[in-house]
């Protein structure tokens, strides 16, 4: 709940930019469907953004205290205070957003309803007509039935995985290291000063102390009153598996929303063939998102083709930081890069075409790109919390994607922006190299 409230901060800002963009483009406030110049910022974003911000805050707070050999309760109490302040800020900003008409719970819920069972003609784009073809918009009954069926199948697959994560125990040797770190923090109030295998005192374990995911787990246990191992083995997997699928859901939405249609709608208004049935760039047909999620689930459930795959980690070692790195952080990086690339591409299209420059409102003016940069930075710091290798696994794809964006969109300055997002994660990597 607290991460969700924290995530309301960036969510409200993103909605503010989105609303401004809609007002400029003259789109009805009621429109939520794929015809509505792209879909609204999903109500699931606060959850994802909130986790990234909370993890980043924990990493920034905990690592200096661990290196100073502070007691665990000092870290836990300080972090609780910081979390509550951030959550309060989220609530206040959200309230301001409601007052200014940027966000509304009703619109957020209608977006979820639209994803689940489709849209009515009015909801689709606010006018009742498809903007590309001029035909009546809204989801057809057959498509609605397919959507409901696919969502039910996906829900079944997800519940099956959640049940198995609770019902089955996976014997993994690494648990003998990470879970005693959490249990020791909670029971002995010390962090990384005991050998997790034996309990003997030791000099501080800097290498693992730089990625204090088990300490975050101990924090959760402390303030929920649940034993750290029970939290790690029986409760956290349920949350993290769901979160992983939320990230994939947003990736699916981002890939299937027909952003070409959305961002270059003005440009293609005179080319209805761009939207004709069967075209690869046709807009999201409603059933595609749940089908995407079914495929993702199947790939996870049957992804144990080796010990090393992300899917194996997701469903066998869901309580470990490296699992969160592979299955939450890396897909989150992909999601953020995808959302950012849409805006960068929108701007590039607008610059290439003077008429779009004039109505650049529809063609991708800045819709809060800086918020995505901040979220990417937080995700980089969160990656360092999950594993000491996190900094590298964050910097490498971000740097390579930035290089490709800079070359292919002919925007060399993007390299600077993305380099800035990598600085905190890079600092943790340097710290690791100096202290290990």
């Amino acid at each position: 709940m607290v991460p969700f409230l924290i995530g309301l901060l960036p969510y409200t800002c993103l909605c503010g930019y989105d609303q401004k963009h809609r007002n400029d483009a003259g789109i009805s406030p009621a429109a939520t469907g794929p015809g509505a110049s792209g879909q609204r910022v999903s109500l699931l974003w606060p959850l994802l953004a909130g986790y990234m911000i909370s993890w980043a805050a924990f990493q920034l707070l905990a690592v200096p205290m661990i290196l100073k050999q502070q007691k665990f309760h000092v870290v836990a109490t300080s972090y609780l205070v910081v979390s509550l302040i951030l959550a309060l800020a989220g609530i206040i900003v959200y309230a301001l957003g409601i007052k200014n008409g940027w966000v509304s719970l009703k619109t957020g819920l209608s977006q979820i309803k639209a994803d689940l069972i489709g849209t009515s003609a009015k909801q689709d784009n606010g006018t009742g007509n498809h903007p590309g073809t001029g035909k009546p918009a809204g989801t057809k009954t057959g498509v609605r039935l397919m959507m409901i069926l696919f969502w039910l199948v996906f829900a079944g697959l997800l519940l099956f995985q959640l049940y198995m994560s609770y019902h089955l125990a996976y014997s993994d040797g690494d648990d003998a290291f990470y879970l005693p770190v959490s249990v020791t923090a909670l029971e002995a109030d010390s962090m990384y000063l005991n050998n997790p295998y034996t309990g003997n005192t030791q000099i501080i374990d800097v290498r693992h102390g730089l990625g204090p995911y088990p300490i975050w787990l101990a924090y959760l246990a402390k303030f929920t009153g649940v034993n750290a191992t029970v939290m790690a083995q029986s409760m956290l997997p349920v949350v993290l598996i769901v979160l992983t699928y939320v990230v994939y859901l947003e990736i699916g939405r981002g890939l299937l929303a027909g952003s070409m249609f959305k961002d270059a709608r003005a440009k293609n208004e005179d080319k209805p063939e761009t939207h004709k049935e069967g075209n690869i760039h046709a807009e999201n047909e409603g059933w595609m998102l749940p089908l995407f999620m079914i495929f993702v689930s199947a790939l996870q459930i049957f992804g144990n083709y080796s010990f090393y795959t992300g899917a194996t980690f997701l469903l066998t070692r869901s309580r470990q930081g490296k699992e969160a790195l592979g299955n939450l952080i890396l897909p989150m990086i992909f999601l953020l890069l995808l959302e950012m690339s849409k805006q960068i591409q929108g701007n590039a299209v607008a610059k290439e075409s003077p008429e779009d420059m004039e109505n650049g409102k529809a063609a991708g003016k800045d819709k809060g790109l800086w918020i995505y940069y901040l979220l990417l930075t937080c995700t980089g710091i969160a990656a360092c919390l999950c594993s000491t290798m996190g900094s590298f696994l964050f910097v490498m794809p971000v740097a390579l994607a930035a290089l490709l964006f800079a070359i292919l969109y002919k925007k060399p300055l993007l390299l600077v922006s993305y380099a800035l997002t990598c600085i905190p994660a890079g600092c943790f990597a340097l710290l690791y190299l100096f202290l290990r």
Partner: protein, 211 residues
């Protein structure tokens, strides 16, 4: 280079998932028109794979980290997203409706048959309690615990990994490090404890010394 190739082939198991990923990749390479998606799903993948196999890059990264975790670079490949997205696009292109249904079933079968069902992994077992540790660990630890202080105990090798997951109040003279063969951790008390016939006198002496 051979280490990198070994890790790559070990990562993909029987290599069928790699074929499925390759097919999805080629399908999107031919059909996907949006530049941002091509960058993230296709070009980025090619660059990551090139770096993964690039000897100098591999040497530097393996030098900084352990070679056994170099495979995690492959986590950066958006395998799940690429295959699922390509599958949806393929289904979308097919007409009429019943072809879509057939394609969905075939794709699901391909994913299932090329992969491996995670829950038949031999390391899975029905959880005996919410701690997901053997019941005997809980019974023994509760029996030997002394309120307000730590206790020190020797456990048989099959329970070593679980004891301190249950409680930090039980300390041990040796832990999981002794049972991981590649770590070559030698402990005479462990040898005495794990001997086929335990010499109680010797075990007692070694345990006393280990206090």
């Amino acid at each position: 280079m051979s280490v990198v190739l070994e890790l790559f082939t070990a990562y993909w198991g029987n290599l069928l998932p790699l074929l499925v990923y390759g097919a999805a990749f080629i399908f999107l390479f031919v059909t996907e028109k949006e530049r941002n998606k091509r960058i993230l799903l296709l070009y980025l993948t090619l660059v990551i794979l090139t770096l993964f196999f690039f000897p100098l890059f591999a040497k530097v990264i393996i030098g900084v980290m352990e070679d056994e975790i170099y495979y995690r670079i492959l986590w950066m490949l958006p395998v799940t997203v690429t295959v699922a997205y390509a599958g949806v696009r393929l289904v979308q292109m097919l007409k009429p409706l019943w072809w879509k249904g057939v394609a969905i079933l075939v794709l699901m079968a391909v994913m299932a048959l090329s992969g491996d069902y995670v829950y038949d992994n031999p390391y899975f077992g029905v959880a005996q309690n919410r701690f997901h540790v053997p019941d005997e660990v809980i019974v023994i630890c509760d029996a030997i615990s002394v309120p307000g202080r730590e206790v020190r105990a020797v456990f048989p090798s099959n329970l070593l990994s679980y004891v301190r997951q249950y409680t930090a109040a039980v300390c041990m003279p040796y832990g999981r490090e002794t049972v991981v063969e590649r770590w070559n951790f030698d402990d005479p008390l462990f040898d005495a404890m794990e001997a086929e016939t335990i010499d109680a006198a010797q075990l007692g002496t070694l345990a006393y010394k280990a206090q």
